[in-house]
Symmetry: C3
Subunit: 154 residues, 3 copies
Amino acid sequence: MTGQIESRLAELGITLPTPSTPAANYIPFVTAGDLVFVSGQISQDETGRISGKLGAELDTAAGAAAARTCAIQLLTQVRAACGGNLDRLVKVVKLTGFVNSTPDFTEQPQVINGCSDFLVEVLGDAGRHARSAVSAGSLPMGVAVEIEGIFQIA
Amino acid sequence: MTGQIESRLAELGITLPTPSTPAANYIPFVTAGDLVFVSGQISQDETGRISGKLGAELDTAAGAAAARTCAIQLLTQVRAACGGNLDRLVKVVKLTGFVNSTPDFTEQPQVINGCSDFLVEVLGDAGRHARSAVSAGSLPMGVAVEIEGIFQIA
Amino acid sequence: MTGQIESRLAELGITLPTPSTPAANYIPFVTAGDLVFVSGQISQDETGRISGKLGAELDTAAGAAAARTCAIQLLTQVRAACGGNLDRLVKVVKLTGFVNSTPDFTEQPQVINGCSDFLVEVLGDAGRHARSAVSAGSLPMGVAVEIEGIFQIA
């Protein structure tokens, strides 16, 4: 817990969880050169999965809070990809955010901002990334948000 | 306006707009090595956003025209990533095109061709790219099309 | 047919089809450095396209079988990218799987496992990949599944 980014997380009162390991033939991340491709992280925290559709059961603020849990998990996986040392993270390159919503929901960017804002809060300019924010027709286990990411590490 | 690609754009009567800057913690593009990852560009032109669902308010030709506006904006962002010199663009690597449609719409490829065809028209073989074309459940602000891209630059 | 992976495919009784070439301005794959970006492959086999929505006409097992056909086509494109020698494939980096489903379908991971499991069956650990599995609002020509991939080659 002596790294710069770990200190920033501690300041924010955030403890990264143990990275989840999918029970399947896919894995949480793959490194190719200096790029780390992280699997889609679904909205969940220590209390369980965050489910529901935006535009129906969930409002945009709840969606943004759900997206923030995806950011925490993305960072957890990147830390694992860095062998535990988050200071090896050069920058967040690209996020794709999928929102579980009704067909008439139009605030996907505000939802995914919950993830984007967290990454910049923790990482500063290195957290600024390219991004797409779209609705999925539906998501695994009915979760509210799923976000995948590409990261550059040293 | 002396570059080869700029000349081609001029021939086609196309002026690239000023690149839009998102009012958020994400940015229009991130470069990693020689790859440029461009954020999802929504369908819009100088007259405003192009909204509506394919299979409902918009037909496939209107969708393709909307996709073309995404291509123009992608190229605008790539030009910025190239420091203003589009001749540094080596090739278009990959596009992901999201179409705002009803659940029974099946002409996503024809819609996204509006983007693909434009890129090849301007860039020739360097514009040929890998691609996915799918429907999103819905899109930001109700726009018809959102397209993100990966580009290789020199 | 003397390569290691080709032998494994033969053992499994799988013949890779002739890679399909899209009739459009996009192409099946683009290589940038040692990464191959393969276009979204739709569910189809020698008998034709596999269409239908998960949660309506198709159950999860049928969806997984459809996803397996996407895997076969992805591998076919990667073989072409390797100049015919699949032993040049270093690893599968990332898949994005789009499932054509009703809005209440929640077993996207189980569907895309049909692709993931096949790749690990053929490639072993090199087949383990990062992944996102989401529903699309709808898919081209009504197909059940579309999967794109990023691969690292030597």
